[in-house]
């Protein structure tokens, strides 16, 4: 058996996974309206291709990728585009962003261009890569980085890691996916394997999901017996359950012992890492020709009646899902706090009108009554936070500098490396909301830097303008001086000429008088 390493720190958490992982994947009825944000991924927002009144079909491209790091958006059901407007999105700010609003017609008709490929294994690599990008596949583990851009590594890759760790409490969508679609995950993995050409492939699952491990291993055996030889390079590895084992850098450390360099990417140590959901989406994109238009979402919480995993069309309002899951009988969501993601790294949703997006892995419904307001006590410098930090940071130092807004010091202590996992806040005996401070400091620093860049730019523009004005004045002055000199010269010449002619006439007169006298 292969050796496993361990990452620094981490915390053991209660899973609460049995709330939602017992039931199979459910398909909810379609909502009346779908709200599809143009930006659901890291990078440039997509550009809308449809107009109000257009009829769209399921899987139709409705917004195109606008740069290398960007992803297209597809209609997740058939219907009519009724609005292009700013709608509140799943972001802690509650800011409204550009969305395409589709009124569904209930027929759920596929677009005519969507059909299964006859021979996907014969596709050449570039075609494969561009099909993945065109299908709008992004990292479904939470980072929503466009996957196509990840699949063209500039160096040789040793290990392809498929991340099924799912270390956050409450979330079970990857668990359920691995149990229901293990074959698709492995065939998706084999496609990725062709693209990045690694020496080994690992599917990593936390050891609290034995069923998922079993299903995956059985699927590998099945595929092997069906004569797919390349599947023998794939291993399923159960990693110890320790939050945040599912963090990309932590998982790579556990599996390979390699540390991804600071501010670096996994490919620099010869690893490419993708989520199991992404891998299944790659399978759908290539074998079925289907773009990424739905995803598994865990709807869970202590009081949710039908807590389970739902296959939700992207753009479905969260309220629709809460109604179906029986999360909220009064309909207003007033007595619940909604968290998108898990309790550790998720964030509170501004309200239930926000749509489910590609990044939505879980909606955690917490009764507000259960949320105990904690009073933070002063930091006693015990150092517990540094012991549990999986990124080898000093949260306690960062905390002081975040409070003092000392941006240079925050830089010095590598604030940018913080993955906001929340281990430090869990470990803190004074209950200081450390992650909140770090998120605040990160955005504050970004703003500070942006201001400095803008000020520099304005200063340069001002200087250029002043130099230009000064030069123009100088030129004007010179021209004026030149004109004056010219005028003076002309005047002098005129005077000289006049004097000369006067002299000449005097001479003439003299001559005339002389002549007369002669």
């Amino acid at each position: 058996m292969n050796k496993l390493w361990r990452f620094n720190g981490g915390v053991k958490l209660s899973g609460f996974k049995s709330l939602s992982n017992a039931a199979g994947v459910k398909r909810p009825p379609l909502p009346k309206r779908l709200y599809l944000p143009l930006q659901q991924h890291i990078g440039a927002p997509a550009e809308a291709l449809v107009e109000v009144g257009d009829k769209v079909y399921k899987g139709q491209l409705i917004a195109a990728s606008s740069s290398f790091i960007s992803a297209p958006v597809h209609a997740s059901s058939s219907g009519t585009v009724v609005e292009l407007k700013k709608h509140i999105i799943a972001h802690p700010s509650g800011i409204a962003e550009d969305c395409i609003v589709i009124e569904t017609d209930g027929k759920d008709e596929w677009h005519s261009s969507i059909s299964a490929l006859s021979n996907p294994d014969a596709l050449d690599l570039d075609e494969l890569r561009s099909r993945i990008s065109e299908a709008g596949v992004v990292g479904l583990g939470g980072a929503v980085f466009p996957s196509g851009a990840k699949l063209k590594p500039t160096r040789s890759i040793d290990t392809l890691v498929i991340n099924g760790a799912e270390c956050e409490p409450y979330i079970t969508c990857d668990d359920r996916l691995m149990r229901t679609r293990p074959r698709e995950i492995i065939r998706g993995l084999l496609l990725l394997r062709r693209l990045v050409n690694p020496t080994e492939c690992i599917i990593a699952v936390e050891d609290n999901k034995p069923e998922a491990v079993q299903h995956l291993r059985r699927a590998i055996d099945e595929l092997k017996s069906e004569g797919i030889g390349s599947v023998s390079t794939v291993r399923v590895v159960a990693v110890p359950t320790l939050f945040p084992a599912g963090g990309e850098k932590q998982l790579i450390k556990v599996l390979t012992g390699k540390a991804v360099p600071q501010r670096g990417l996994p490919y620099e140590v010869g690893v490419v890492c993708l989520n199991v959901g992404t891998t299944a989406a790659v399978y759908d994109a290539i074998y079925e020709g289907k773009p990424l238009i739905s995803r598994l979402v865990t709807i869970t919480g202590p009081n949710v009646k039908h807590a389970a995993n739902y296959e939700v069309p992207i753009g479905t309002p969260v309220q629709h899902m809460l109604d179906i899951a029986g999360a909220d009988d009064t309909g207003g969501g007033e007595q619940n706090r909604l968290i998108m993601g898990g309790p550790m790294m998720g964030h509170v949703l501004p309200n239930a009108q926000v749509p489910v997006v590609k990044a939505t892995n879980c909606i955690l419904v917490e009764p507000k009554a259960d949320v105990v307001p904690t009073t933070a006590m002063p930091c006693i410098r015990c150092g517990s936070c540094a012991d549990v930090c999986p990124m080898h940071l000093l949260p306690q130092q960062l905390y002081w500098h975040a409070r003092g807004k000392a941006f240079d010091k925050l830089d010095h202590h590598n604030l940018a490396d913080c993955i906001e996992c929340g281990c430090c806040a869990v470990a803190c005996p004074s209950k200081i909301p450390l992650v909140h401070y770090f998120r605040f400091a990160k955005t504050e620093k970004k703003e500070f830097d942006a201001k400095a860049i803008f000020a520099d730019q304005s200063r340069v523009r001002m200087q250029i303008r002043e130099a230009r004005i000064a030069q123009r004045e100088r030129e004007l002055e010179e021209r004026k001086a030149k004109r004056k000199a010219d005028r003076l010269k002309k005047k002098k010449a005129k005077a000289a000429a006049a004097a000369a002619s006067a002299n000449a006439s005097v001479d003439d007169q003299d001559q005339a008088s002389n002549g007369v006298s002669v």
């Binding site: 930006q39 802690p92 955005t443 504050e444 803008f454 000020a455 303008r465």
Partner: protein
């Protein structure tokens, strides 16, 4: 004894005088580094609300002790604190007679009304307006500092102040509440 002391001290005085003279010539710095440091802390809005014709002149005035550090509304309280720290003074509240700290704004030209007189172009301190005589003018929003200097010269009042676009990129997490105790 006294004589030798006088001689030694005189010689020393001459030596140091020469050294200082040499240093003055050879290690001369163009401009005032303090002014540069102050200028780097100012927001470069170039709005003139401080009663000086731009951020650099204000920086010079602060360095000369002519102007106080609390005359810059766009810099706001954080700006005053930064200046106080640099100059080793006590921070003080913003002098309201120069204006109030407000949200970041930009201006926009109503292109239907604009007559193309170029007066605003001449007023803009950062060249953020493009246009030509009797042609429509427009503002380069990304370059506009929100100084509002283009508004008074406009003869047809077609320039409006709008808040700077606050998208996701400009959003900040709220500051956590201060701890108790």
């Amino acid at each position: 004894m006294i004589l030798s002391a006088i001689v030694v001290l005189t010689l020393l005085a001459i030596l140091f005088g020469l050294l200082l003279g040499y240093a003055e010539k050879h290690f001369h710095i163009e401009g005032d580094p303090v002014v540069d440091q102050i200028d780097a802390l100012l927001p470069q809005t170039q709005c003139g609300q401080c009663d000086y014709p731009g951020c650099r002149p204000y920086a010079e005035a602060i360095a000369d002790g002519e102007a106080d550090i609390n005359q810059c509304p766009p810099g706001g309280q954080p700006g005053i604190v930064a200046l106080a720290e640099l100059l080793g003074r006590e921070p003080k509240p913003l002098n309201e007679s120069h204006g109030e700290e407000s949200i970041k704004t930009v201006v926009i030209i109503d292109e239907k009304i604009c007559i193309g007189c170029t007066l605003c172009i001449q007023a803009c301190p950062v060249d953020a307006i493009v246009g030509a005589t009797k042609q429509m003018h427009t503002i380069i929003k990304d370059e506009c500092t929100g100084c509002d200097l283009c508004i008074p010269p406009c003869p047809v009042e077609c320039i409006y102040v709008i808040p700077r676009d606050t998208g996701l990129d400009a959003w900040s997490w709220p500051e956590p509440r201060a701890l108790q105790g």
